[in-house]
């Protein structure tokens, strides 16, 4: 299964991003652009905020461009200018987060200039950034990607996406495996996973949707969730987190990427997405919705579980 994945378009994409960035910065269409730049470690990238047309050449796109930059528009926006439009380089998965944030009044389309990236996939967090992209090294989320070509962007480089090898959806497979287990076996699985948690809250920090000023789990009047990194509190935290993201998370999988303890966090999110799709035919991130699946209802919703 080490089938290589064609990422030859990335150089053309990089060039196109640079040209477009230079154009819009020079023309004053945007005051800054959030994108990826090469990092010190071999092959790795890091987020960069470019405010000068001359610096546009720093922008790149590679299989190591893993971050969801949407974060820099909301929670981590200290470094971006307060005035004017902001340009941002987005993969399809990142765009879904932006779309979700628009639906929750956190972002306005008019304030953004979206540079969409045709994406063949990025690397998993477990491999070195210089590794070649193959069916083995690709991030799990990319195996289930349905938005390789972001839509409704202001600019998308005109390149032909190469055809992809058929990849088995890693989350779908894992969800199916867990669903086939007994509740006790599932409990054992998650107990072990949650036990690893050190409550570093990196998952919360990196999630574009955890934008609350004060997290419910940090409150102590009342203390809804035990804050110490012990099994009980850990379990509660992860359940609350999954519930709060249900119907909103579109699967950028940043939580899972940054988790130092390798807890399969996105698995919970994907499971909830799957259920909401089945229950209410709702998929997050495809269009700006006024209401999510859990802030609306119909009088015909399923109630087979209610006596």
């Amino acid at each position: 299964m080490t089938e290589p994945i064609d990422t030859s378009i990335y150089s053309a994409v990089t060039a196109a991003i640079q040209t477009e960035a230079q154009r819009i910065l020079a023309a004053g269409l945007v005051t800054a652009i959030v994108g990826y730049a090469a990092s010190r470690r071999n092959g790795s990238t890091q987020p960069i905020i470019v405010t000068d047309a001359a610096a546009a050449e720093k922008l790149i796109f590679t299989p190591a461009s893993v971050n969801n930059l949407a974060l820099y528009l909301t929670k981590a926006k200290k470094e971006i200018p307060k005035k004017g439009k902001i340009g941002i380089v987005v993969k399809g998965c990142d765009l879904k987060a932006i779309v979700g944030l628009m639906g929750e009044a956190q972002l306005k389309r008019n304030d953004l200039y979206l540079i969409g990236v045709p994406c063949a996939g990025v690397l998993a967090s477990t491999v070195q950034p210089s590794t070649a992209l193959t069916a083995d090294t690709i991030a799990s989320k990319c195996t289930e990607c349905d938005a390789r070509l972001p839509s409704d962007c202001d600019y998308v480089p005109n390149v032909q996406l190469p055809t992809q090898p058929q990849l088995a959806g890693k989350y779908a497979v894992e969800i199916a495996r867990l669903e086939a287990l007994t509740p006790a076996e599932r409990w054992a699985y998650w107990k072990e996973q949650f036990a690893k948690c050190i409550k570093c809250y990196a998952c919360r920090q990196v999630c574009p949707f955890c934008f609350c000023e004060q997290c419910l789990c940090d409150r102590n009047k009342p203390q809804m969730v035990d804050t110490t990194p012990r099994p009980a509190g850990n379990t509660a935290w992860h359940i609350v987190r999954a519930m709060h993201l249900a119907g909103r998370c579109a699967g950028c999988a940043e939580c899972e990427r940054v988790c130092p303890m390798d807890i399969p966090l996105n698995l919970l999110n994907r499971k909830m997405a799957k259920e909401l799709k089945e229950l209410y035919d709702y998929e997050a991130g495809f269009e700006v919705n006024d209401k999510g699946p859990l802030t609306t209802y119909t009088d015909k919703d399923d109630q087979s579980f209610i006596k």
């Binding site: 929750e104 956190q106 004060q214 997290c215 009342p222 809804m224 709060h244 999510g292 802030t295 609306t296």
Partner: protein, 665 residues
């Protein structure tokens, strides 16, 4: 540190028979924070309440738990007693150890343990209770009535008679609505205008009613007791103060062939016109689309002949702002037409009946105008196409109604009765004619209604055919009606001279737009939704707005009048106090935590959540947060359960109180 008083009621023997009340009192007395714990035979009796009051004062209690019956029974009683003793009533809670314990369990030990736990749970809860001041909202004692048909007129007169000012807004040049168009009314066959016009005159002359005709609602702001309404008063081109209503302008107007909407477009009117002779106000209006002066700039005959100089071509639309405390919506209905509808529309027309292009296929309202003594034919039933008297007339019921294929699945409620009336009117006017009615079910519940329908068959000789019509088409000067009689099981064909369709009742055009302005909910057909189908049928979920008449659903005249009076009574109830008091169980936003995702706003069924901008001293926008209007909030708490950061909290049911209860168990 709280000093909680706990009072365990025996309820005679109702509780003490299965619960060892003394033991409960003893056990609970040991709980931290409990300063006083006792049991008593009847807590709700006067001595019981006095015991409570005395204890509060003597023991210096800060919170009270009464363990007795269901709070649904006596919560108000004990909160009042607590208030009389000088404590905030919301610092008192009840523990239900009767309905939920002593009455449903027989084992004394088990019941006693459970009762102790229930009381303990309420003790933990009451510790977290906060002082909640009763919410008061000032009430502007003026009301707005939207729609000047029989519903609006009745509501306006009732409110005005009680001494409160009413603003009555009507879209058309005259009030009167559909009832003014009718010839006779069922089940008594009294002339509609004879009973309607006196009411219209009453409105015009009432000192407490301010009438805006030819006007529409532009904007509604505010909430119960405190609405600001912007009304757009369209230019009449005639000065209402100067006009004497002499009508010379109309006799001289050269444009005489404009179809009159009031007469269902079969009668004609002039460009400066009043829709019908008894119009209120009796002030003409210039229809600018058809007026020669407005079209070409030349004419002005009306202006020249007007003695008082009332005609004013320069008049402009006006915006008027009125402050009111309550709104009655009475916008009424409109009739469905069988015309071809735009592609993709929810409602479909009847191609099989010729899409409304056969001239002698008319609707019920047109028949009313034909039958009306003041109508375009002077009360003679004549065909629109050639003015001949129809000798074979076919009535078809349920056109559009009860036809989900056409997009409407409800029953329009009044058609069975008015069709029966039509057959009678027809029989009275065309003695040698024959009326046929195609129907599915005759729905005639109502006082003297079924008798009325039977009369049309038994005495007025209408032939009722149980079955529907599949197709209508013109053949020569006849209309071929192809139907079936399902009782006999045969196809029926009638060569009719005229066909009258009992078309469905739909809400007025633009009902949805008005609902959005008012912030009230409506169903998929645009009928306005009442707050509760059974118990609050005249109130909207949005506080301070009430419904009257067919805008809420198909209704006949008596029902409409009843609902209008009921709506007026609701308005008067609201106006009976200067301040609107309500329980302070409402949601509040903690602005520091709110990030403005407005999930709360999305789930609020009452539209109580508003957006509020927070600015620094220089006026720069810091953030936009949610704000719950306490006058509008109903206190369900759905917002809090939805808020991810719990930055909105429902007083009386805070997370702290609930978690305290869970943790006590």
């Amino acid at each position: 540190m709280s000093r909680i008083g706990v009072f365990i009621c025996h309820c005679g023997e109702n509780i003490s028979r299965t619960v060892d009340v003394e033991r409960v009192a003893q056990q609970v007395g040991k709980m931290p924070g409990v300063a006083f714990s006792t049991d008593y035979k009847y807590m709700c009796s006067d001595p019981g309440q006095n015991l409570l009051k005395k204890a509060i004062q003597e023991q210096n209690l800060t919170h009270v738990v009464v363990a007795a019956c269901s709070p649904r029974m006596h919560e108000k009683t004990f909160r009042k007693a607590v208030e009389a003793a000088g404590l905030n009533p919301f610092l008192c809670e009840m523990a239900n150890i009767r309905e939920h314990c002593s009455w449903v369990h027989e084992n004394r030990e088990e019941a006693t343990v459970k009762a102790t736990e229930i009381v303990g749970m309420m003790v933990e809860r009451v510790k977290k209770n906060r002082v909640l001041p009763t919410i008061t909202v000032p009430v502007t004692k003026r009301s707005l009535v939207i729609g000047g048909g029989i519903a609006g007129i009745q509501a306006a007169l009732d409110i005005a008679d009680c001494g409160h000012e009413v603003i009555l807004v009507e879209r058309e040049p005259s009030i009167g609505g559909h009832m003014a168009q009718l010839s006779e009314t069922f089940p008594t066959l009294d002339c509609s205008q004879c009973i309607m016009t006196p009411k219209m005159v009453d409105v015009a002359n009432h000192p407490n009613i301010k009438l805006y005709t030819y006007s529409e609602i532009e904007l509604v702001e505010g909430y119960i007791g405190n609405f600001q309404v912007t009304i757009k008063k369209r230019a009449r081109s005639v000065d209402e103060d100067k006009c004497t209503g002499c009508g010379v302008c109309m006799t001289k107007c050269p444009q005489k062939k404009i179809p009159n909407k009031f007469d269902q477009n079969i009668g004609m009117r002039t460009a400066i016109y009043i829709p019908f002779p008894q119009a209120v106000p009796n002030t003409p209006v210039i229809d600018r689309e058809n007026c020669t002066m407005f079209k070409t700039g030349k004419c002005g005959v009306c202006q020249k002949v007007c003695g008082p100089g009332a005609v004013d071509f320069e008049q402009q639309d006006q915006l008027i702002i009125e402050a009111v405390g309550a709104i009655v919506v009475a916008t009424g209905f409109d009739l469905y037409t069988i015309d071809e509808k735009p592609k993709g529309s929810l409602i479909k027309g009847y191609g099989e009946f010729g899409h409304g292009k056969i001239p002698d296929v008319i609707d019920g309202m047109t028949f009313e105008r034909l039958a009306s003594a003041s109508g375009p034919t002077g009360g003679k039933i004549l065909r629109p196409s050639d003015g001949k008297e129809p000798k074979q007339i076919v009535f078809i019921q349920c056109i559009g109604s009860r036809a989900r294929e056409k997009g409407i699945s409800y029953c329009s409620k009044v058609c069975c009765m008015y069709t029966a009336k039509h057959t009678m009117l027809y029989h009275h006017k065309v003695h040698d004619g024959q009326a046929y009615v195609f129907f599915m079910d005759a729905r005639t519940p109502g006082k003297s209604y079924d008798e009325f329908w039977r009369r049309s068959i038994e005495e007025e000789e209408a032939v009722y055919i149980r079955g529907m019509v599949s197709r209508l088409y013109q053949k020569g000067d006849k209309i071929i009606v192809r139907g079936s009689d399902i009782a006999v099981g045969v196809q029926v064909e009638i060569e009719a001279d005229m066909v009258v369709l009992a078309t469905a009742i739909q809400p007025q055009k633009g009902a949805d737009t008005l609902a959005q302005k008012l912030g009230i909910s409506y169903d998929k057909y645009n009928f306005y939704s009442e707050a509760h189908a059974k118990l609050r049928p005249v109130e909207c979920a949005t506080a301070g707005i009430y419904l009257a008449g067919a805008c809420q659903g198909p209704k006949d005249i008596p029902e409409t009048v009843s609902q209008a009076s009921a709506a007026a009574a609701k308005v008067m109830t609201l106006f009976s106090k200067d301040l609107l008091e309500r329980e302070p169980i409402v949601a509040r936003v903690k602005e520091s935590g709110c990030v403005g995702c407005f999930a709360c706003k999305k789930v609020c069924a009452y539209g109580a959540v508003e957006e509020k901008e927070i600015r620094d001293r220089q006026g720069n926008l810091i953030k936009t947060v949610a704000f719950v209007n306490p006058g509008v909030c109903a206190g369900c708490g759905t917002c809090q359960a939805t808020c991810p950061s719990k930055s909105v909290e429902l007083d009386g049911y805070t997370d702290e109180q609930i978690v305290a209860m869970i943790e006590s168990l």
